[in-house]
Symmetry: none
Subunit: 216 residues, 4 copies
């Protein structure tokens, strides 16, 4: 009778390292994985490339990860903070909705530009693998829900078109921004950050029917 009682016989994730050396090796692997994934894409990346980039033996990979998926998850974990475009709620110090939206969009675009390689990678993996599409969706959800709340708030204050479905609008406008960012920074359709921010913000603001005069 096997002692493992989990879903399958095969462990599909590994114990975290118990020694400082282990911690270091694992970190080197994750960092190497990010480099290789960003360079070669998820599909073409070979575990051998990752281990050689990390300077470890091929076999060491399995001390910490059970699969390419799993190390990719670890990469996502590592870059989580980096990915979270700085929240701008209080940053602006302003209650002007347009100022908030402008700041949010700008922060998002700057973050996108900085992490373009990673964003391309994320899109790639999400397009291939449903599990990671789910991850992306969960993340976008936080952002979208914040936008939805904000829209509802504006609607209640009479500052946004009340006939618009807030959830759907939040999704659609988020898509507009994120996908335009993808076009610009991943596909390389060169555009000026200021123009981009201004136009996207203006479209966003107009779309929701936020009164024109609010614009600076």
């Amino acid at each position: 009778m096997p002692q493992s009682s989990d879903e399958t016989d095969r462990a599909d994730h590994r114990e975290p390292p118990r020694t400082p050396r282990g911690v270091r090796t694992r970190a080197r692997l994750v960092s190497a994985a990010r480099t290789v994934f960003e360079r070669d894409g998820f599909v073409d990346a070979r575990l051998a490339d990752i281990t050689s980039e990390a300077g470890t033996a091929a076999g060491s990979f399995y001390t910490y990860f059970a699969s390419k998926d799993e190390i990719f998850t670890a990469v996502l974990e590592e870059v989580k903070e980096e990915m979270l475009h700085p929240q701008v709620r209080e940053v602006t110090g302003s209650d002007d909705p347009v100022a908030v939206i402008t700041a949010g969009n700008r922060a998002y675009l700057e973050s996108y530009a900085r992490n373009a390689a990673l964003m391309r990678l994320l899109e790639q993996v999400a397009a291939i693998d449903e599990r990671f599409a789910e991850v992306r969706w969960q993340r976008g959800r936080a952002f979208t829900e914040r936008n939805a709340r904000s829209i509802r708030d504006l609607q209640q204050r009479g500052l946004a078109d009340p006939d618009i479905d807030a959830d759907l609008a939040a999704t659609a406008l988020s898509m507009m921004v994120s996908r335009t960012a993808y076009n610009t920074y991943v596909l390389g359709e060169a555009r000026d950050l200021d123009t981009l921010t201004d136009t996207l913000t203006r479209l966003w603001v107009n779309a929701l029917g936020i009164p024109e005069r609010v614009l600076a």
Copy 2:
């Protein structure tokens, strides 16, 4: 550029069939490829699956195609018309811009819903392979440019906010619609077509500052 073909390389595309039988076999392969690609995704699709789905010998694949890429290109060719969401210019019979935009969006969404499996596939391949990202971009371009012209026209007629960068707006709004369609029909976030059309149209119309009264 590693994968481009040089002079000395083996031929990387094949002669078209010269007999009706050949035409049939090739067509069976392309059709089978579409089925397999849509089912398994580009990456996981095996040539053996395609040939067995087509009912041909494994080797017959190479009579018409040199690679998975190449048969995928052929699939794209085959579905080209299917993909072109019906142009709605005259269909509406109206000159009302909102009616035109509504009709355009609805047609796009219906087409997307019909071809969801294919659209997922396209996104997948475009995310993996730059060559197909380029193909997708070229196709979107036609659509986007039409929108840009339309926006400029409205601006000149005083029916749209003249301060907006028409090209960028066209891209951004197209992204909004296409990506929301992806969310809905590929990722399966269930939404009602009417609500979707209305909301996207309203956002689009508002975003461009097209006079409210024109609506409905």
Copy 3:
């Protein structure tokens, strides 16, 4: 030059083994390759035959070699010493040119007879692949140049026909010996070693006009 390696190509040679076990495995593969090549010829030898002869998995071949060419090069490396027919300069202890030539020819023929299977293989590969023709040529060159120097020396000492082009004669006489050896030991035209040595030596000596009385 189609088969030469460019920068972007996959590595076309492998790292040497880093452990004794690896050294052993590699050696088994090289030895097996020699057996298979000598038995089946270069063209008909299959990598699967080599690995099964070596008692390794098929994939292990690629741990050490990138191609059939490459393991053949390794075989050549391994047999390099074996191939070098013992140098006879001082061996004879004599300064008599005829004795030196006799000893050289005999040593060459004996070596050829011993390594007939390998010599057939070499001829085969050199005839097929320019790269190995070059290798053969480089090796023969050392031998031929030694002969050319010897001829020039005899000419200066008045012991050989001074009107003969020493380099060309060296090549031609080397060809005479090596090709006759091939006829005898590879194609199997049975001949007695003594007769062979004597006749070839006599032809060689006469050809250069070395005084008859020096014989015997």
Copy 4:
């Protein structure tokens, strides 16, 4: 009960063509085969290359030939005359043995230079396939035997060293000439035809001990 009663069930050679069209097609195939063999070598030549070079369909090959070997044999047949270096017996009109040898060597070298591509091919095939080694051997035999007779004749007339084994010497000297020709015209070690002829002839004449004064 099968109607074929030959050694095997499979016909391993084909009937000659019965119609003028058939004769032409066959001839085109043989000619194309020669082109392809000379260009790509026997091993790398594909039947598809031959048929496409001949401008026939792939299947037509088997109307006339059962295998690559067989069409190669047909190529050899076609070039038989071309290959036979002009016999020089009476051509010289002289009875001077040196003049005869000179003329023979010169004719051989000229023929070799003219047919270098073919000679490379022959060497290649002979090195690979015993059956064709045999063919080459049979052909060389005629030449060698003529030389052996000539040597014996000279020996009887007191014009050549009587202690030399005439058959072996004939072989060895033929090898000397043919292999030097290979070096020169196939491997491309550039040499002047006159020097080549003179040196080889002088070596040959000296080797057999033909009196010096006979030289022109």
